[in-house]
Subunit: 232 residues, 2 copies
């Protein structure tokens, strides 16, 4: 299958690499490929320049948002939450219509300093904003509650832990479930919370996730709902 | 030890009964004991009237908020979040000064219908509001992320799961840790998140908790941070 992965940060690269390893064709989407390729320095998080990453992952092509979205049978949003609606606008609603749109972004707001706050929060969510803005896309919020490496390799964390799904389209959630299983998620550890409004709950896990990251000193942890299954 | 448990709902009753069973002296605090005792009908959640519950738990005395708080060496807030600051004001700042104040309340706002929203949220929390309003109390936010029965009997949920602590006073958190251990919590399953601002993170677990309650159809589940310990 063909995937468009919008966003060239660590989440986008991790998802793109995993999709490629599973035999999918992947276009990585960015605002202006020339500008992205022109960056010679590591990004703010110390990740190597995209150009270097692309040399090491030569099956992945870098395209502008609209070209990438047109290429993909499904689209994955890994852009920064504050920029997601703009990025999807650039991707083009016609290029999203009818497609599964996997939203991994979190609406972190760093404008007031650290720790970041959320915007929107509580009575709305980024997942809902995206679904409202692109009603013909089939938005599924998932994977936004953990470190990128765990998303594509859940066995990094020993023991049972969970990934959540939120979305209005049952077929799209089924397709995303199959994708998660191909990533290594046991199907009974995938919890379908319900419609896209349940994305509020998963996005609001970010504050405790960030505190736990600080307290534990590492990111190799994940949420596990103990008691969700009869056996653990 | 003497405990004041403010609030006569299911959380207050459950905590009060457990404290009594552990040999503590307990005063249950309410706004107007006469009015509380005068209620003859079950409450909105189907719980029996307080008068009936007190007959079955005759070691617990019902007192006005201020008398209860004066009685307690430590105070437990189980009032509805929207009423907590008022209840603590009625309890009296002199009666709270220097004492450990265990805050189990969540700032659920039902004014916009279901599901409830949170107020405050994101950049503030009820735990912080209480600490700011009563600076001489030693506020520890804990137990607010699970059903009342699990709070006092963690083995109801099979397998490892966690309870969180947030607070600025290390001695108070140590005292609450000891109390949680006496409730049955393994000490290594108690996660100290840090200062009282981390209460934002635990209060913001409520939206996903409420969705999981609906999805799972029962409340005998709890959050487990998989990867928080080397072994699970």
């Amino acid at each position: 299958m063909r995937y468009a992965v919008l966003g060239t940060g660590v989440v986008g690269r991790t998802i793109a690499a995993r999709l490629t390893s599973l035999g999918h064709e992947v276009a990585l989407g960015t605002r202006t490929p020339e500008a992205t390729l022109g960056r010679a320095e590591p990004d703010a998080y110390g990740n190597p320049p995209v150009a270097q990453w692309l040399e090491e992952h030569d099956q992945v092509q870098l395209l502008a948002f609209a070209e990438a979205a047109a290429f993909g049978d499904a689209v994955v949003n890994t852009t920064a939450g504050a920029a997601s609606l703009q990025a999807l606008e650039a991707a083009g609603r016609d290029n999203l219509a009818g497609k599964t749109l996997i939203d991994i972004a979190n609406p972190l707001d760093f404008s007031q300093g650290m720790p970041p706050s959320l915007n929107p929060v509580d009575t709305d969510s980024l997942g809902e904003q995206i679904q409202r803005s692109f009603p013909e896309a089939r938005v599924v919020k998932t994977l936004n509650t953990m470190n990128a490496r765990i998303m594509v390799e859940p066995s990094r964390v020993a023991g049972t832990h969970n990934v959540f799904l939120s979305g209005d389209d049952g077929d799209a959630k089924k397709a995303v479930t199959d994708l998660l299983v191909s990533f290594g998620w046991p199907v009974h550890d995938i919890i379908d919370l319900g419609d896209i409004t349940t994305a509020r709950g998963t996005e609001m896990l970010l504050p405790i996730w960030l505190r736990l990251w600080g307290t534990l000193g590492h990111a190799d942890f994940n949420f596990h709902i103990q008691g969700a299954r009869a056996t653990s």
